[in-house]
Assembly symmetry: C2
Homo-oligomer: 299 residues x 2
């Protein structure tokens, strides 16, 4: 079978009201050719991240439906949370998984954006691979000013939305739709409650401060455990390996006499990223994923 | 899709004549519902190991056909090689992979054994999970005496074959058909040409000498590289992990001042076995294969 498979990881601005969360997530349930993989609601962020994979048109239909549900249930005027946000459906990233090109995903992002604007009067910005200009590549750049600032920002000449009018939806704000590579959300736990150490290590490994090309990182404190974390996105695991980052963090942590307690992966991870680490640590010669039984089961 | 998938790794006693090898392997090519994953011919062993996966009946038909081809091309009376052998098709292991139980594989082994005896007059012994008595669990036990010794051995009361007459096929000998769990053929390279060191380390880790429960191991010399190997089968990787064996071999090698150069996997490896090692080395918390993207693509 050569069916096209796309991953979609929409973020909705509700992380506390379980009833509302379930109503939104229901849009992805019991449909043909789409599989709800997981959803993680964060109370502090006040945000839920849904992960689905499936056939492009099935994913498109479900996510458009979910945007409609979210726009009815979430009023951004009454929303507060630690994560920056600009819409009831904040962002819809699409990721090519199998038998589908980035170009096809960009076409899909455009179809989704157009429908959202048409059906719900929510303006849409296209970002990252789907962006129509350099200013919009970076989602953080689009989202700057958040819901509150978007009212005026969207009136500026260079912030006219890609779909819809240059006027935010009164309660649902605006939504970004984009296409990106699979990224790995990866956290490394430090045996210290000193956030300064986590921040210093994060600086060493992240691209913006001279670190690895495909790492975005920061330090955070996990209050209930009395530890800190170097939290990161690995935006291209084929070029910046998990084990390399992990060993580098261990190396830097020694400078402060701090132990690395372990690490964790949030959401999904491509098999190859972990196989790459196993291959490194076991010193495997001539290994390729073709030798993995399951690779031969995925048709 | 819930199609049943079985793996089959038949061993044929020809590792030198490429023309004959191709003719045997052709039995697994261009068929529906069966996939030839690889075949490795070894000149010293004078033996070829074929790995296929597929739907049980498709696998059955193809392997029976291959046994017929091998019986026409290989005369055990003129066969010599380092690996012990008792038939032109020496052994046919079946391994349950997906949506199929060990019990179903045992039924399949019986069907295959019956057909081989009926079609080609080759007596068949059932081994390991498919064995009808304890003496036949261990393939090495059945094969003891090899082709040459089997002429008389098969006449003994307790070595009556499970299918066919108690008389070897004049040129094709006898064949064993069995069911086993997936095993991992794993070798660890030592930076020494002293086979005694490799043997001593192999003894430390193998079950028969007090080592790990699911390790069968020995030492071998790789002449052309001037190194030695601890070569092993991990017969249940869910209980004896790859990383544990690797780290133990490193630990033992230090005793002799010998470095471990790396390791290699021969044939196929289940994804979980390597993920387990990545999880160990990265200290991953709360990780399960459900978090692996590809796990969700195998339907």
């Amino acid at each position: 079978m050569n069916s096209k498979i796309v991953e979609c990881v929409p973020n909705f601005s509700e992380g506390r009201d379980l009833d509302k969360i379930e109503k939104i997530v229901d849009s992805f349930r019991g449909k043909n050719n789409i599989k709800l993989l997981n959803y993680e609601a964060d109370k502090d962020y006040n945000r839920v991240v849904v992960t689905v994979i499936g056939e492009p048109n099935a994913v498109k239909d479900a996510v458009i439906k979910a945007v409609g549900v979210a726009s009815e249930l979430i009023d951004l005027n009454n929303h507060e949370g630690q994560h920056s946000r600009m819409g009831s459906t904040d962002v819809i990233p699409l990721i090519p998984i199998k038998n589908i090109t980035t170009k096809e995903c960009i076409a899909l992002a455009n179809e989704i954006g157009q429908e959202i604007a048409k059906n719900y009067n929510i303006p849409v910005f296209l970002y990252e691979e789907a962006a129509n200009n350099l200013d919009r590549k970076n989602l953080a750049h689009i989202r700057k000013g958040q819901f509150e600032g978007m009212k005026t920002k969207i009136k500026e000449d260079n912030w006219k939305p890609d779909y819809g009018e240059n006027k935010i939806h009164r309660t649902a704000g605006v939504t970004a739709v984009g296409v990106r590579k699979p990224l790995i959300a990866y956290n490394i736990n430090l045996d210290t409650d000193d956030i300064n150490i986590a921040n210093k290590i994060a600086k060493c490994i992240r691209h913006s401060n001279g670190g690895f090309r495909y790492i975005k990182a920061g330090g955070i404190k996990i209050e209930e455990k009395g530890i800190t974390q170097v939290t990161m996105n690995i935006t291209d695991y084929t070029k910046t390996s998990i084990y390399r980052v992990f060993e580098t963090v261990k190396m830097e942590a020694r400078r402060y006499g701090v132990n690395v307690l372990g690490s964790e992966i949030v959401g999904l991870v491509p098999m190859e990223a972990l196989i790459d680490s196993a291959t490194y640590y076991l010193g495997l010669n001539d290994f390729s994923v073709e030798k993995i039984l399951e690779t031969n089961l995925i048709e």
